[in-house]
Symmetry: C2
Subunit: 405 residues, 2 copies
């Protein structure tokens, strides 16, 4: 039998992606150092040279998460696997789990609780608002048997940041474990896992860590590890069972579990080395400074923010689409004419907002200026009256007045 009947009819050849400027909600632009790292020769996943690098990766992740947790490692899958890994290990059928929903990802957490057989107790806040810690306390008072509190630190769908420290304290007061999503916050704004008393945390490689998507850094407290070790019912997922993963990512053994994604891990290692070189405080300050410059520029165009200044994420700028403007056409023109990507709104925000990411390697002066210039251009094209040059000028002015420390 010949295999040709299944051959693609069209001719398929090497794929050459265009060079974009990625200013959406993630992925951000992968740093050239990270791209180079991923193109280095593959090693066996049990090679002693590779396992040494794994130890460095764990140290570097403890630094960015600000934790001493031994069980800190990158999951071999995207952030949604990181999320699921927390729930599937920590929730057994019948468990009550407080889930705070103020955007898309809180909703996904509820799905996870249900699929684990848990009972979600939902704390609702408006899209664009932070989680209200008082509501968390109220629901815990009424449900003293709740076991876990889960919330999103930085909601990628809205650009809002919640008060993780206060939520962490409340959860502890009511004897609950905490699960925190830091997919968009890690590396861009302060995350202090240990100081905030967070038990399980996960993130993604493709936002403020400047890697391609595909890996999910994760960390679990001793409390979680002990609890999972003592589960009577097996974790539903073989791949995500941390009892098994401990054998591969633990510090003393290297029992084969799955084949680690070597080259993606080289990339993550390099991006973490870059944060280690820059220093977390300086990375956070850089994200803040570029955000302020962008805001100064957007103000000249009359474009305002969705989220209140007190809770705004510097790395993810959710802004209102000006009245009468076809937002889809603006994004299309930015992509086609300037090879520049920004994000659309999700859910209720679809068609109403843009999400402008300044994350990781994408958070830099040249991108802020380029974007503001391009946006002026596109809006003019679409017949919006714009005071040309004012937006980049305002950003430049902000930079001049606020030099890097």
């Amino acid at each position: 039998m010949t295999t040709d009947s299944f051959r693609p009819k069209e001719k398929i050849s090497t794929f050459y992606p265009p060079q974009r400027t990625l200013l959406g909600p993630g992925p951000s632009d992968t740093h050239p150092r990270v791209l180079s790292a991923m193109a280095r020769p593959t090693l066996g996943h049990l090679d002693p040279v590779f396992t040494e690098m794994m130890e460095e990766l764990k140290s570097l992740l403890r630094y960015v998460f600000q934790t001493k947790n031994l069980l800190t490692f990158p999951v071999s899958g995207p952030g949604s696997i990181g999320m699921e890994m927390c729930f599937v290990n920590m929730v057994v059928p019948g468990d009550k789990v407080v889930v705070c929903r103020n955007g898309v990802f809180g909703g996904r957490m509820i799905e996870n609780v249900e699929r684990c057989g848990g009972i979600p107790l939902v704390v609702e806040d408006k899209w664009g608002d932070p989680v209200d810690p008082q509501k968390v306390e109220d629901i815990l008072k009424k449900n003293p048997d709740a076991k876990v509190v889960a919330f999103v630190h930085a909601e990628t769908s809205t650009g809002v940041q919640s008060d993780a420290k206060t939520i962490g304290q409340i959860a502890r007061k009511y004897n609950c474990l905490t699960i925190m999503d830091t997919v968009t916050s890690l590396g861009g704004t302060p995350v202090y896992m240990d100081e905030w008393d967070i038990d399980a945390i996960y993130s993604g490689s493709q936002k403020c860590l400047s890697c391609p998507p595909g890996l999910s850094p994760i960390s679990f407290s001793e409390r979680v590890v002990d609890m999972v070790k003592n589960r009577t019912e097996k974790v539903h997922s073989w791949f995500m069972d941390i009892n098994l993963l401990l054998g591969y990512w633990g510090s003393t053994t290297r029992t084969y579990h799955h084949t680690a994604p070597t080259n993606s891990l080289y990339g993550l290692h390099e991006s973490l080395v870059m944060i280690y070189e820059e220093g977390l405080e300086r990375s956070w300050a850089r994200h803040q400074r570029n955000h302020e410059a962008l805001k100064a520029g957007l103000e000249t165009l009359g474009i305002g923010y969705v989220v209140d200044a007190a809770y705004r994420l510097p790395q993810l700028n959710s802004v209102h689409v000006p009245a009468g403007v076809d937002e889809k056409e603006v994004r299309r023109k930015l992509l086609n004419d300037f090879s520049l990507e920004i994000g659309a709104g999700l859910g209720d925000f679809a068609g109403k907002i843009w999400r402008i990411g300044l994350m990781g390697n994408s958070s830099k002066l040249e991108n802020v200026i380029f974007f503001l210039e391009a946006l002026e251009h596109v809006l003019t094209d679409l017949g919006v009256q714009v005071n040309k040059g004012a937006a980049p000028s305002a950003a430049h002015q902000y930079y001049a007045n606020n030099p890097t420390a």
Copy 2:
């Protein structure tokens, strides 16, 4: 608060992996074309240019799987997630699942069935033997209510190949769906998903596809898709629920599900383009030819195969360690003195066999010769009497007598 207390104490810098020759059970050497592809600029996962490439990926995967299944795509995770995705969608609590175990990965399938709440009916065969189709038929006769038959086409732990066509026919006769593991076979030996009537198939990127580890090509028949659509109980896993994945990897919609690992997918695309250029038949023939040359060389050293010739995988050569030889020391010396990796035995085979992979880009003349030469050298170092030069010579002879068609 300063972040410095969590900074790694040791200085950590860029990781430069050594150049190995990977002749273990996977990963194999990533082809330079694939490495280059992965280092290209990241695109947004909903970028129209990227989604066009996704369609090509699906076509190319249909070619290597030899299937027309619409739901054919690379899972954003390693082969073990591919395996779990099959079970978690196809097995509901109480389902009887025939699992054939003749090595490590059949054992892992049993774990998966149990964690899905299914009842595994185990067909046991000796490690190194293929699955006995008669035993499959016997167990199905006794269990007419069995729902699924799961087996490993190419057992990575032993190097044996099972008769997928016959097992597929038997399963169909008893009205069962089939799950087949092709992690080690795909691209190296014939796989005919549709002709063999297989319903669910998964593989890995890091063996005969010459990519780094981290992706799991997968395909489901319409029968599976229909069954999963009609499940009354939700799939336990949110990430692996094919009802949700259909929205992202389906052909008409691009609903955001998770952020696809863009750069790893560039790599897989390139490796599949290479197979498409070479042609499947020629790729299979190349694996066979290099296997025969290796075997000719090993024979001069008195090294014999674990698996009977009729069921031997050309891409994974399981051979007996010569009596009195410290196999670990041989592997250590190959790695340290020649930067060459071969694999150890697992389970009962630990310490008794080597697994020599000639997979994908690693399956080439220069590797066969280099390995035989290095092995002679190491054995001599360890005091084994070797007729120096005989092994590479025998391989050369084989190549000369069997030119590429």
